[in-house]
Symmetry: C2
């Protein structure tokens, strides 16, 4: 198989792919999350056996908009989840660390998410201008290239290594518990696993997980609607591990809900079918996938 992730080399997506890939499995990079989805769902002749790994939520910054949008629109299946502890480093070009004692820092290159997740450290840096970039790897690259004044990057340990930067401080994120959850996506099988009860899909983990991801799209808007949706889960004592509301896109005040829930030790296929059938009487439901629950901190 091949793994598709957000590039360039040195992103957190790259890091998690290296952790989970099989020996001989190639990792390929795409410039946006949308293109990772497109490679998985639409380019089957080019990439017949491709899995994508995409970030879906961060413990500090919340849901990743682009991923949620693609999950809503694209025809793919979630097949696994992974957690990656997120650690940022503060780094300068090689040979510049001595200048930190004598010169004022002019610029810090940072991805907006890195900025948000390291805001306390950044606030302690004084008057250096924060310049936003498109990826953590890009922050490292800009710092390497911008030698006209003293500049630094908030970046990943891996990207600092790739671009030959010198690490000045490690673990500069606001919370040591900072974690990002990734999903593994594959092309959707014609038959939805888990619901039909069949495990006829080609993959290795369909129907056997205990965690379920769905998107609920309400048909109307009235007092108590979300309450009715949640009653289905509460009445069965099913634990929601996550609920995230997102705008439906077409109208202010109209939302869809991304819901993850879990069965205890085994997916109750019949119970799940009944639950979804009931939900479908008041909302539209898109099943995103059924997969084993991962432990936070492990992969």
């Amino acid at each position: 198989m091949t793994i598709a992730v957000l590039g360039p080399k040195g992103t957190f997506s790259h890091e998690i792919a290296e952790t989970v890939c099989d020996r001989d499995e190639e990792i390929i990079f795409f410039p946006t999350i949308r293109e990772v989805f497109a490679a998985v769902t639409e380019r089957s002749s080019e990439y017949p056996d491709l899995r994508g790994i995409v970030p879906v939520e961060n413990s500090g910054a919340g849901g990743v908009f682009e991923t949620l949008e693609c999950l809503l629109k694209e025809d793919c299946t979630v097949r696994a989840e992974y957690y990656l502890p997120i650690r940022y480093v503060f780094a300068v070009a090689k040979g510049k660390s001595a200048d930190m004692q004598t010169q004022a820092l002019a610029k810090v290159y940072a991805h907006p998410q890195a900025h948000a997740q390291c805001s306390a450290f950044l606030a302690g840096l004084g008057n250096a201008a924060v310049v936003h970039t498109t990826s953590n790897a890009k922050s490292a690259e800009e710092t390497l290239n911008d030698v006209s004044e003293l500049t630094a990057a908030l970046t990943t340990r891996s990207a600092a290594g790739i671009y030959g930067l010198e690490i000045i401080r490690e673990n500069i994120q606001n919370y040591d518990t900072n974690t990002t959850r990734f999903l593994e996506i594959r092309r959707a099988a014609p038959e939805k696993p888990g619901v039909s009860g069949s495990s006829a899909d080609s993959g290795d983990c369909c129907g056997c997980g205990t965690k379920c991801s769905i998107v609920v799209m309400p048909k109307g808007n009235y007092p108590g609607l979300l309450y009715r949706i949640l009653s289905v889960f509460a009445g069965r004592e099913i634990n929601l591990t996550r609920i995230e509301s997102r705008p439906s896109g077409d109208m202010m005040g109209k939302y869809v809900f991304f819901i993850d829930y879990e069965f205890g030790s085994e997916l109750d296929v019949d119970g799940n079918k009944k639950l979804l059938d009931w939900l479908r009487t008041i909302t539209e439901v898109k099943e995103l996938g059924y997969y084993p629950e991962a432990k936070i901190g492990g992969v």
Copy 2:
């Protein structure tokens, strides 16, 4: 009074401030939303009579992370809401529009939110590289300055005017219903309005609105928790106009909920107090403010 907004000139925040400001009211600009909050909450000697206007959610892209984070942490009160229809234009430097017929477009400058909100238009542009910027005004400025090749900006009509760009296409956003909701924030009064029933605060709209914004911070995590929270509203037939889950920041899987709800024609001060008292038996509650409901499309 003075109005503080996200700058530079030409942002959507600038546009809404111009629409709602009183005659002679000065508009001042800050480089980040965080600094707008800081000016309102902490710099009372410099700005004794300041109101801030900040974007809180967009109908396509969802909640504005920085605003939600500040609402959670800063000591301020929401005093009004405004809706602004969001329209993007596609613009080039003056005199360059003729080149569009003969030359390939090399780059499009766009804020990530503008990119997301105009993704269908962008996809139709072919192979031009999209370069992300820190604001819509900045996209216009970069396009003006980068004359080495054919470049364009996704920007606002106002920013195109300020930077002297030529507008090639208007209304390039994915949805014509694209709308951003803004909140007006002021320094919190010592006594919380609306709950105590007093209107002793210095402002002009406290206690008289019918819309309420709160943040609910669950004390535990168990099946049915959110369901119990929502039961308080459903049992009273109170309409939630918005619920947005955000990570609490310190731990994966722990969330806080931003909830907006409304009373019919008049704030039921006693009923609201009972509702909040009940909620406080199972969660922490931060009251963000009580204010009149605005109509979408009007301000």
